[in-house]
Symmetry: D2
């Protein structure tokens, strides 16, 4: 990071008990380049205050509303005010908060899905473009070094022409809801007024499609989705499967589920080409598998000198000293922080940012709307929208 000081981070959301907020904070802290300086940790002002105290923040920098935070931070001297804000609230609030901070002159790192629907996301894109600020979306799985390696393989033509992509994301935690045992984390995701038109596909299906897009570069041309709601009484999907046709002729398959009992966070992807295939599993993230006909299978492992420079750049420990979820998340922060430091120093935005951008956000929203549309029509094929 080209800056002779730490970046100052603000956070909106992520109060006591919130899982993803604490992940964002660890990811930001890991490299010692970012310090949490301000926050509005809850829509409940008292909870925000208590959370700020937990985090040992100056009480003067802990706010009761995000609007107040944007305004008062913007009024601070340049040497004190935050450099960027992390937004880790619920889906339906992302756009309004991002808008407030972008328009107040702040860079933004935002959790996914980016918006409540595609129309909102399109509006946000215009705001981002106008702002000239960094807008990074935490599709954190793209931060894994071996996911970057996979992308480099495809880019270098190692797989030949791509033929087939299978990406799957089974989780099983929601199955306990059948017996009434599900935790609160899942509850708001099942509420259409907060989560939007999809639960499972919005929450994890978007990670799966983003991962496939990141590694292969392929664009979906049309899809056919069969979404299911297995937990009685729910309004949104908790499982679904999707056939994909990509531009250029490759075919694909995506499934995501929250009722796959015994699966934890079992995101994985396989890509086959004319010259060979790759395979990556999120729960074993330091390995990338290469398989080709008439060759021994290969296991490429993070930390080795045979990996691409970009893979090595986003690696922190030597081979055999495993890295995992938090380090991958921190890589999104690292890439965004590099860009934010540049912007704060008056340098231009990166041309090919290593962090996911608002465009990934639009693709995710288009995916959600397409799979829901297809499924509601009885699992018919629908064209993927132009973005």
């Amino acid at each position: 990071m080209n800056l002779n000081r730490k970046l100052r981070m603000g956070m909106v959301g992520g109060g006591r008990g919130a899982f993803i907020g604490s992940v964002h904070r660890m990811a930001a802290a890991l490299d010692g380049q970012i310090e949490l300086t301000a926050g509005c940790f809850s829509a409940d002002a008292e909870k925000s205050r208590l959370s700020g105290a937990d985090l040992r923040l100056d009480p003067a920098r802990v706010y009761g509303t995000y609007q107040e935070m944007a305004k008062r931070e913007a009024a601070l001297p340049a040497g004190q005010r935050i450099d960027f804000v992390s937004i880790v609230t619920r889906n339906n609030t992302h756009v309004a908060i991002a808008k407030a901070f972008l328009e107040a002159g702040f860079n933004v790192i935002c959790d996914k899905p980016v918006a409540f629907n595609l129309a909102e996301a399109r509006k946000l894109k215009a705001i981002v473009q106008k702002s000239g600020k960094v807008f990074a979306l935490t599709h954190n799985y793209t931060g894994y070094p071996m996911v970057k390696e996979a992308r480099e393989w495809v880019r270098a033509g190692k797989l030949g022409q791509l033929l087939k992509v299978v990406v799957e994301y089974p989780q099983g935690y929601a199955i306990t809801a059948i017996a009434g045992g599900e935790g609160k984390i899942a509850n708001w995701r099942m509420d259409p007024s907060i989560a939007g038109i999809s639960n499972c596909m919005a929450d994890i299906g978007t990670h799966a499609t983003n991962l496939a897009r990141f590694i292969t570069g392929l664009e979906i041309e049309e899809l056919c989705a069969d979404l299911n709601t297995f937990i009685p009484g729910r309004l949104l999907d908790d499982d679904g499967t999707c056939l994909l046709r990509f531009k250029g002729g490759a075919r694909g398959l995506l499934f995501a589920s929250q009722i796959s009992s015994g699966d934890e966070n079992n995101l994985n992807i396989r890509v086959w080409g004319t010259q060979g295939s790759l395979q990556w599993h999120q729960e074993n993230p330091d390995e990338l598998i290469w398989k080709a006909v008439n060759e021994p299978h290969q296991i490429h492992r993070r930390g080795n000198s045979y990996l691409a420079p970009i893979t090595q750049k986003y690696s922190r420990t030597p081979f055999g000293h495993p890295e995992a979820f938090i380090e991958a998340f921190a890589n999104v922060y690292r890439a965004a922080a590099d860009a934010i430091a540049d912007v704060q120093s008056g340098k231009p935005l990166p041309k090919n940012p290593e962090y996911p951008t608002i465009d990934a956000g639009l693709e995710g929203m288009a995916f959600i709307e397409s799979v829901v549309k297809s499924s509601k029509a009885g699992a018919k094929w629908v064209k993927f929208p132009r973005l």
Copy 2:
């Protein structure tokens, strides 16, 4: 096997260089209960003769045509003639050969797919029923002990209500055809006049659907299939994906491929229910995995005393002494041999045979016709036929 002598086996097909014929012979030989006694190993009489000599058969029992074989074997005294015939020829000849032997009074073990099309298969079923003989179809993957264990789990309700089935069968050998390098084994499978309307789905898709049916007992209600032909110049599918809706509400997904570079014979299945899930991989067949929310994952291994009696019955070696493909294949022969021995002793056919029957053959043909119909209509949903 309740018989104080070995069963005498005849074989049609399986001449020099044929892979599956030699597997059938090893499977038949393994338990020392069956001896190969006669054969018509090729449509080419000279090749048949040479193959018989390789196998050290009495030349008088090696025939130039299957018709001659059926006729002359039937004319031998009861103490000499074969007890059953194994049919290991190409798809389009199974029904005629089976008919000839059944009507000549012989039991039949037949390779899959059972027929050239569903109509043929229905006719064969009538012949089988009229014959009162054993007709066993070598859906050999159901012979694996841990596949039987999986079925027992489902039957016992261990998984609760079934929600989702994912069965996949990627192979990669055909990818070499892109560079002209594919072996002859694949060639006739690509010829519609021999293989019928499908290559990949007929050859291995039927194994996948049979495996799902065997373990879960679920019947397909409708399906939506997207078949592909990636190898230029081919007339039949070499890859395909299929969404499944089962009677009773469970959903499924099946894919099969011959162009998945680096995959060998990677059949595997996952079944999720409300109480837990199972997972089985053909390339690691002695293990059956159990996963459920809030429980350690479990690996159940062949040869242990905690397994179901039927699993133990079809096991030959103690735990840790792995069994594999040939032993599983031999289990189909073992089950069929038990029934044949009974029939030859005047006892009735088994009510719940452990070998796959003509009904599995009809289901396979219905699957082939359904996926082709769906795919040709642009991957539309089609109802699975009544059988």
Copy 3:
């Protein structure tokens, strides 16, 4: 096998309920080149008779004593009498039986350990050499194709200079003896009058050292062993560990155990050289792992065209159609059968037999005597005897 008829096998031992006898019979039957023709299946004549009936043998070829069998088989015409005998009795009887059959003009396949002690084994070697017959010892783990591949790697110098060998063989079945629950299979192995001076090291330690010797070609120069008897009341070892120094400077480590609760038959070996290392696990036998610094790990899999010719020769099914314990065992029979067919046709014995010979037997006995000697001396270093 260069013979226009099947080989006729006799068996000594392996009556009802014996595990290893049935494995030998399956291994012999698999390729359709050997037929079981005669036997003395138990020292109990009635049990021998019943076992022969189970196996559907001609009662005239089922004998009450091995002496009678050797004598009467030798008196049969050449076209009827057995070509070889399989000896699957307890350790202390191997030499006497082998002697009887070798001196009666028969080839021998014998279970391991070859003898009750090294002195006996040396005498047997003289008898074998004098006989001009095949004597094959069923160190069956050398029959695995990927074990042969490992040996080819070492021979070809792929690993460079060998530095270190770790071979381990934990089993856990005997732990139940603590609660009195052990099966009979283990009982005679614990009786010094039958098993000799060692239980665990004799039964499985010899497999481990044979495997290391087979793959690496290294000869032990000296060793230091710490044997244990954890099950109360036992006279022989049920666990042990051994440091090895090989001629030429490589170092090694061997451990074997019957009280490693939860391990099944977990034989595995790792060999490191200056250029790279190999790893093979008996419970996953179709894979051979290659690891070297600054290279992706590789998994070599049976059935592929990149393997050595000898590996492919001892393979029966294509890649992805797993082979396992019985097929490996059958490979010892296949190699021995090839040699027996030659001997029976008047051809010479093979110069470099692919089956383990009496020399492997002597090495095994020397290993047993050395580890016991070392351990009794308080785990001191002892020189390995010259053989």
Copy 4:
């Protein structure tokens, strides 16, 4: 951490290019409870200054010598001076630096091995005891949640009486030294004037023995070690194997290596008891395997509710979101930070600290001296010293 402010950390060592220093900093930063405030990053004052600037420290808090740092930090007001120092220098300097800071009133976190030899370590223990301060040794592998779970299993008697321990730590990076290609990280470890009497056993053998001790609680009674120097021209061991006898009758085996080509950081441990066994692999750290006779194998995974409270306490992300090396390292810092915060608030030291203490340091030094003594005597048994 019971403190309403962040702890202030100083660091000695860890300048530009040092691997372990950066790991300590990431580990300290992860939870947002510690901030790096001061440092003497190199014995080269200019390098120390530049490293401090890289880390965006106040130049006034960057020192040229550790002596100066101890003195000047001690002179700062309580609200400014560091709370503790992290020592990440070479082995031979640990004790002097620790002494300086302890005697200046600071808590200490120190890299391992704790000292140059056992005598030094004993002296340091006296200083630590006198100081009343926290002294934590970064045997970081004990920070893995599933290692803590393993210890809880042993403590709870889940394994029954312990019989056998196998701990291994093969690395392969040094093999490149044969061709002159080894990196500088290894160089000082091979220098007896810096590293002491051992390289491999001191560097990683101590981790292995510490891990075994942590999980099992067993104390070594005597050992027999065979150390090797395979890389020509070296003065210290790069490989070694060790037989262990524990107090109470359990037996063990430890090996460590830097020339195991293709191994990365392959620390793993297996412990067998009368009731079952456990297995843990550092390169797959979120899993702990349970195996017992006549039971399915079990894979226990971090993040699940069935784990012990202490395991859950040291976990940061939900199941399926893997944690790894840095998080485990951070757990040592977390435990030490809790104790430091208490000490700084006037509370007593913890009675059963979750961080490794000076006693682990003494055990490590005793292990080093014992294995070297045994090996030099020709791999003879030596008694483990009383500590």
